[in-house]
Symmetry: C2
Subunit: 123 residues, 2 copies
Amino acid sequence: MKADTPVSCQLRVRFTRGSDIALGPGKVDLLEAIDRHGSISKAAASMHMSYRRAWLLVNTMNRCFKSPLVETRRGGDEKGGTRLSAQGQSVLGHYRDLEAAMRSAGEKNMEAILDLIVAPDTD
Amino acid sequence: MKADTPVSCQLRVRFTRGSDIALGPGKVDLLEAIDRHGSISKAAASMHMSYRRAWLLVNTMNRCFKSPLVETRRGGDEKGGTRLSAQGQSVLGHYRDLEAAMRSAGEKNMEAILDLIVAPDTD
């Protein structure tokens, strides 16, 4: 346990489509990593995630949204041909804005609750 | 799958103290039920939860906060002697306000993302 982060507040926003998780914090982090690295395998490696898992998450997202969030050209992953579509960029931007707006709006009540929690003993 | 709720957005706010979850949606629902029923056992029953599980959740909350959120007089549970403390009422109020403020602040971006998700086939 890190002594400098004894108590904290986590916010999770999750979009579901039937029993599928269309979008959540992990998938959004993956979108951001794909945007940065231009490759699913490099994005997966940067997140210490298997390629297979990253591919499955991308597959679920692409299936849940009206058009794919991640575009991979044929044989493209190894050659840097993977990127976010315009809709992928849009969804990523909306999600980050959503988190920021929520954090900001909730800050006062969040702090009030955090102030009432006992700091844990230093281990 | 209910046809009238095909896609949705869930918000979860969780407060942690070290490895303990001090407060989250389930514990807040339990606080609300205890406030309504004046009894841990009745609150548990109303949530289809075992008395043991409810008691453990209350125990974790009481341990994590500076003063107990739930007060039970000796032998009080069966006699309706269980209630939220002033701090319990305060934490419950702050959490519900927090959720409402976040939902309201995030509504626009939330709707923008929901609009891009495919509605599932009717099963």
